[in-house]
Symmetry: C2
């Protein structure tokens, strides 16, 4: 009762719930199977809108109270109208978000109070690839660099170790660095 942070929330993380979740999954590993989803609808030109809501996990379907909706577009210099970030920028955002979400959980589990976590991501891309002008140039990013700034009540080494562990357990980092098989099917009826 003396340490309310330990008993309730640290960094906004309900650590008891976090450890209870780990125990539940250890006891019943099949509840760890999740399926996440997104849908997308073309608006006009390079502008389209994605919607995210339902997912499967912990043995059942889940629906959020409201849809999350996100626009994507190309900028004018790429013949779009800036109605949203480019899809490639959405991907960089996903990477930064994954590192940060994991980091807060790991810090809570290690008893480290965070003051600030901020990051920047840069991705270098040569559009000769996607424009079909040079077969030697890949379509996607050639390199991605992340800089994470962490402040909290621990030594620099321990704060840096939070980032290492977050990277080691990041779903998006794994996908982006190691690749995943993607099937694409088409219906036209």
């Amino acid at each position: 009762m003396s340490d309310t942070k330990t008993r309730s929330r640290r960094n906004g993380v309900d650590t008891e719930a976090l450890f209870a979740t780990l125990d539940a999954v250890k006891a019943q590993p099949e509840i760890a199977r999740f399926q996440f989803r997104a849908s997308n609808r073309w608006v006009s030109g390079t502008h389209n809108r994605g919607v995210i809501n339902g997912y499967y996990g912990a043995g059942q379907e889940h629906t959020r109270p409201a849809d999350f909706a996100f626009d994507a577009d190309h900028p004018p210099v790429l013949v779009g109208a800036d109605n949203g970030p480019t899809p490639a920028e959405h991907l960089l955002h996903a990477l930064a978000a994954c590192i940060t979400s994991g980091l807060a959980n790991i810090a809570a589990a290690r008893g480290i109070d965070l003051e600030e976590v901020s990051s920047t991501v840069q991705g270098d891309i040569n559009l000769l690839g996607i424009l079909g002008l040079d077969p030697e140039v890949r379509n996607g990013f050639e390199a991605i660099r992340v800089v994470v700034h962490v402040k909290g009540d621990a030594e620099a080494e321990k704060l840096a170790a939070l980032v290492d562990q977050s990277r080691n357990r990041s779903a998006v980092y794994d996908v982006i660095t190691n690749g995943v098989p993607v099937s694409i099917n088409v219906t036209t009826a």
Copy 2:
């Protein structure tokens, strides 16, 4: 003058600007070097907010009129509060958006009027990986499936070929299927 669609916009795409852009890049390939960016700031627990604005490309820095901001979080079943989609869902959205943006450009270039483009993306993930409970299970998606529905004034085969070509020229599809080197640095000062 007789075919205003060809001379101006098809599918909302300024095809003259599209071809002019291709010609400009052919004449000066160095303008194809872009750098996209995202920043992220931790809010509380697994909740964080990404901001996207400036990028470098076509030989100069660009700033949008306003920032794009996107929340990410985990759902309650993963000890979050659903303040936004999970980072992994943001990644699925980026993939669908990239296929769709490219498809509209390709259809315009091929003279095909689109009526509808919609897609769904599913990603299977076993959380035993990110929870650190099974070293044999990867952190990221094991498989991603996209279904694209295309309606337009062309035969089914030609509509399906639009999806093929969009995949063949998709930055995000390339990153997700082939992987990219990602460096992560930390500052704690």
